[in-house]
């Protein structure tokens, strides 16, 4: 009995009665770890549409910044101060708190050589982790699955909280699974007809694509059941915001707090495509982001899981340094990334802020290749072979 951890115990017994009949010594564990520590998780938050990094982490002592953005610049006194040179957008007060608390790392000037300013091509590059001049049809998280999950019993190592799957999660052989609501996924895949189909398909087919489809269908049905079962074991008591991102972060938290084998969660937030009237739109989206992450990180802390989670945010590009005529900004290049977690080795502002003196055609020049961030997370956090997954050897960073 004692060698079973509490999670297993709950699964073995009936859930409802277990709660009532739970022995006192187990109840005492309620405030302790739900899941054995060391089960590391990466949560990727995609800021879709090209978030304006300059108004995210604000170089509030820089005259060029204010000259380039007479109307759009965030005033020094409103920005939340991080250090002598940089402040953070006032709507990101939750992230400021994480910064004060030593749980936030800010990486500036992240990008890649020969940046592409088209949304979809640029997003492709971030998703596939290809070089700008290459086109790859699979994603970096997908290739992580290829490397880690051959013959995985439960192919739920990477989940996207969405109705459709992003390129990032599509590997050559393995793909992540997209779901918005574990209940809905389980209902859909529980269709009696589908289950009967699966059952009647027993033989090996000479047509490899028939096998592939049945394998995908079978995995979906069993994964849906597994996710739903895990999902039910923990329901957060925290008050998540009623926004889409808030709901999605709650789903992620519930799963992280269960004993599920998922290593990577993927969620999108947007759209940050702010060509006109940027200020209101960005502030609204930032507030949603900040509020959702505040509750999420609080939830993890309370359950002693914050040490095992890293949240990474990214956007396909930053915006131009100068504001445009419509009170917005056009597509730019280098940008910042947030890294959040209870186990960061380095925190705070991790490198120099934007160098507005050395622009290229009016755009920031990148200093850190985003693939280095991927390599660091794959290698140091997920314990995977980053060189194989990224098909190149990128320098590792020291934030974890």
């Amino acid at each position: 009995m004692l060698i079973l951890n509490r999670r297993r115990f709950l699964q073995v017994g009936s859930l409802a009665s277990a709660a009532v009949l739970m022995p006192k010594f187990l109840k005492a564990l309620e405030t302790g770890a739900l899941v054995p520590p060391g089960n590391k998780v990466l949560v990727i938050v995609q800021l879709s549409g090209g978030n304006d990094g300059l108004n995210t982490i604000i170089p509030y002592r820089n005259d060029i910044y204010y000259r380039s953005r007479p109307a759009l610049g965030i005033k020094r006194e409103t920005a939340l101060s991080l250090n002598d040179d940089l402040g953070i957008h006032p709507s990101l007060d939750g992230l400021k708190a994480l910064y004060d608390d030593g749980s936030l790392g800010i990486l500036n000037n992240v990008g890649y050589p020969n940046p592409d300013r088209s949304h979809f091509r640029s997003m492709d590059i971030w998703h596939s982790a290809s070089k700008a001049e290459e086109i790859w049809s699979d994603g970096w998280v997908g290739r992580y699955l290829d490397a880690q999950c051959n013959g995985c019993d439960k192919p739920t190592q990477a989940l996207e909280i969405d109705d459709t799957l992003s390129l990032a999660l599509k590997g050559e052989h393995n793909k992540g699974l997209a779901l918005t609501d574990p209940g809905r996924l389980s209902n859909t895949s529980n269709d009696r007809f589908f289950k009967d189909l699966l059952q009647q398909h027993a033989h090996e087919d000479e047509h490899h694509n028939v096998e592939y489809l049945y394998k995908t269908m079978g995995e979906t049905i069993s994964s849906a059941a597994y996710i739903q079962q895990q999902f039910k074991t923990y329901q957060s008591k925290e008050n998540y915001p009623g926004t889409e991102l808030g709901r999605n972060m709650r789903t992620i938290a519930n799963l992280i707090m269960s004993d599920i084998n998922t290593k990577v969660y993927y969620v999108s937030h947007g759209s940050f495509d702010t060509h006109v009237n940027q200020q209101d739109q960005q502030a609204r989206l930032f507030k949603q982001l900040s509020d959702a992450l505040t509750v999420f990180t609080g939830d993890l802390k309370k359950n002693n899981r914050f040490q095992d989670v890293v949240v990474m945010t990214f956007s396909e590009f930053g915006r131009r340094v100068s504001q445009n005529a419509s009170g917005g900004t056009d597509h730019g290049t280098a940008n910042n990334m947030f890294l959040i977690g209870g186990a960061l080795k380095r925190q705070g502002v991790l490198n120099d802020g934007p160098d507005l003196m050395n622009l290229k055609d009016g755009d920031l020049q990148y200093k850190v290749d985003f693939k280095s961030v991927y390599a660091t997370l794959l290698d140091k956090w997920l314990g995977a072979n980053d060189k194989m997954i990224l098909k190149s050897d990128y320098a590792k960073l020291d934030f974890i």
Partner: protein
């Protein structure tokens, strides 16, 4: 080589050279010689003047030269015309695929639409490009290549408007070599640089007409693929077509699209020789494929994953239907990952297994139920992002996203014309119905057991039985294949 029944052969041809045919059509084909049917498929009906899918006249749109002087109101109108126009174009083309009596032309066009992948938010440019593609889809590849390369859509998309003597932009030259003709690894970086010089001056005017801007053209000597001369863009295309590698590259891609994901090098070599020596006649190449015995090998039959457009059009060709809102098709396209006029990148849709993941497969299997039982569409497609770098057109994308969003949790209302379909089974005895339906809809009919179909069938009437069995057969993994 395992031989399959003639009926299955003809169904195979109907799917690969089109979007499937109904039982009466297949029964007719079955009685004729292969050569006769292949000819019919290749040439189409005699009277066929190409039916255009135009949705807008150049004169309907305001003068683009004046776009800088436009008022906000006028600009909004133009954006709306573009948004609506591209939606209309997508709907019109899908309808054409559904009803066309020359489906191979649409099928080939769909192939070229992915091969010459391009995004533009200008409805007129889109319309011109798709028209060139459809006109040349079964003609000469050199003509097609030239027409596409000179289209404003492509010149804009690949930045050749910015390719000037003083500041060459290599994007266009690179993609022409890498994606349109030879494929990676068969030329050097210097070939791209030199070809880019030859393409300098190729551009378009505000009316969407190709122009050669002589002042921006570099008329010096260029060295391309071992040849040198005072080349212009047309010369580069000619040089690229002289390379046998171009024939090999195109043939390989066509083989993967029309035959199998795994290329067979021996077959491809022989096909591409013939293609090259025919002077790149596409019809000749396709005849070679469709006439060959190996094309009807059982290992190829029913082993290809339908693209989302093939799946949707296939259902609609089988059971004719009209949607209350035809634009709903855009939502299906978006969820399934193939939106016409919005290829994922310059390389087009990768195809094959990339169409399938957990969510897309589950949705594909639910499509027949969603449409034919008018179920609620409870999948939210991902947002689209605007394409071009500047902000001028992004409102238009917001409008499309808004449209996609509004379809959530709505019922899909379609007027379904079941009669001709049900009629097609008039001669089939009741006890054979389930197997016959599976036999027509699936290329591997033996896989789905009759007992399973019976279990879920509406047995209260013959018509109800045919309908429910049809929908269930269409909801199987096997139906994803052709």
């Amino acid at each position: 080589m395992p031989v399959v029944a003639k009926k299955l052969e003809m169904q195979h041809l109907a799917w690969r050279a089109g979007f499937g045919e109904t039982l009466p059509v297949i029964s007719d084909w079955e009685r004729r010689r292969r050569k006769e049917i292949v000819n019919k498929v290749l040439i189409g009906p005699k009277r066929a003047e190409l039916e255009s899918i135009d949705v807008i006249n150049a004169t309907d749109l305001p003068d683009y030269r004046r776009s800088k002087d436009m008022t906000a109101e006028q600009r909004k109108t133009v954006n709306e015309m573009n948004t609506q126009g591209i939606k209309d174009l997508s709907v019109a083309w899908m309808n054409m695929m559904q009803k066309s009596d020359h489906p191979l032309r649409e099928k080939m066009s769909l192939f070229w639409h992915g091969h010459f992948a391009c995004r533009t938010q200008n409805v007129l440019f889109n319309q011109q490009l798709i028209s060139e593609i459809r006109n040349n889809a079964l003609g000469n590849f050199g003509d097609l290549l030239t027409a596409v390369s000179k289209s404003p859509a492509m010149l804009q998309f690949l930045n050749n408007q910015q390719n000037r003597k003083q500041h060459p932009n290599e994007n266009f030259a690179r993609e022409v070599m890498e994606l349109f003709t030879m494929g990676r690894g068969h030329y050097a970086e210097t070939d791209i640089k030199e070809a880019a010089r030859a393409f300098t001056g190729w551009g378009f005017d505000e009316d969407g007409q190709f122009v050669f801007r002589e002042k921006q053209h570099d008329d010096g000597i260029k060295n391309i693929l071992g040849k040198s001369g005072n080349y212009n863009g047309d010369d580069v295309l000619k040089i690229l077509l002289e390379q046998k590698q171009t024939a090999t590259f195109i043939t390989t891609k066509l083989f993967k699209y029309f035959v199998d994901d795994t290329p067979d090098d021996t077959l491809i070599q022989s096909l591409s020789e013939k293609f090259y020596h025919s002077g790149y006649d596409i019809k000749t190449l396709m005849r070679e494929i469709f006439m060959a015995d190996w094309f009807y090998d059982s290992k190829y039959i029913g082993n290809r994953i339908k693209s989302p457009i093939e799946l949707l059009v296939g259902i609609r060709r089988t059971v004719p239907m009209a949607f209350e809102q035809e634009e709903t098709m855009l939502v299906f396209q978006r969820i399934l990952g193939q939106m016409l006029f919005y290829p994922p990148n310059v390389a087009g849709w990768p195809g094959g297994r990339s169409w399938i993941d957990s969510s897309s497969l589950m949705f594909r299997m639910r499509v027949p139920q969603v449409i034919l039982y008018s179920q609620v569409l409870n999948v939210r497609p991902k947002e689209l992002t605007p394409e071009m770098g500047d902000g001028g057109n992004y409102k238009m994308t917001l409008q499309i996203n808004d449209f996609l969003k509004r379809q959530f949790a709505k019922k899909v209302n379609a007027r379904i014309d079941w009669d001709p379909y049900v009629q097609g089974y008039a001669d089939v005895p009741r006890e054979n119905l389930a197997d016959t339906i599976a036999g027509v809809l699936l290329q591997q009919p033996g896989n789905i057991k009759k007992t399973l179909l019976e279990k879920y069938a509406d047995t209260s009437s013959r018509e109800g039985y045919i309908k429910t069995v049809t929908i269930d057969v269409m909801s199987t993994p096997e139906y994803q294949l052709c």
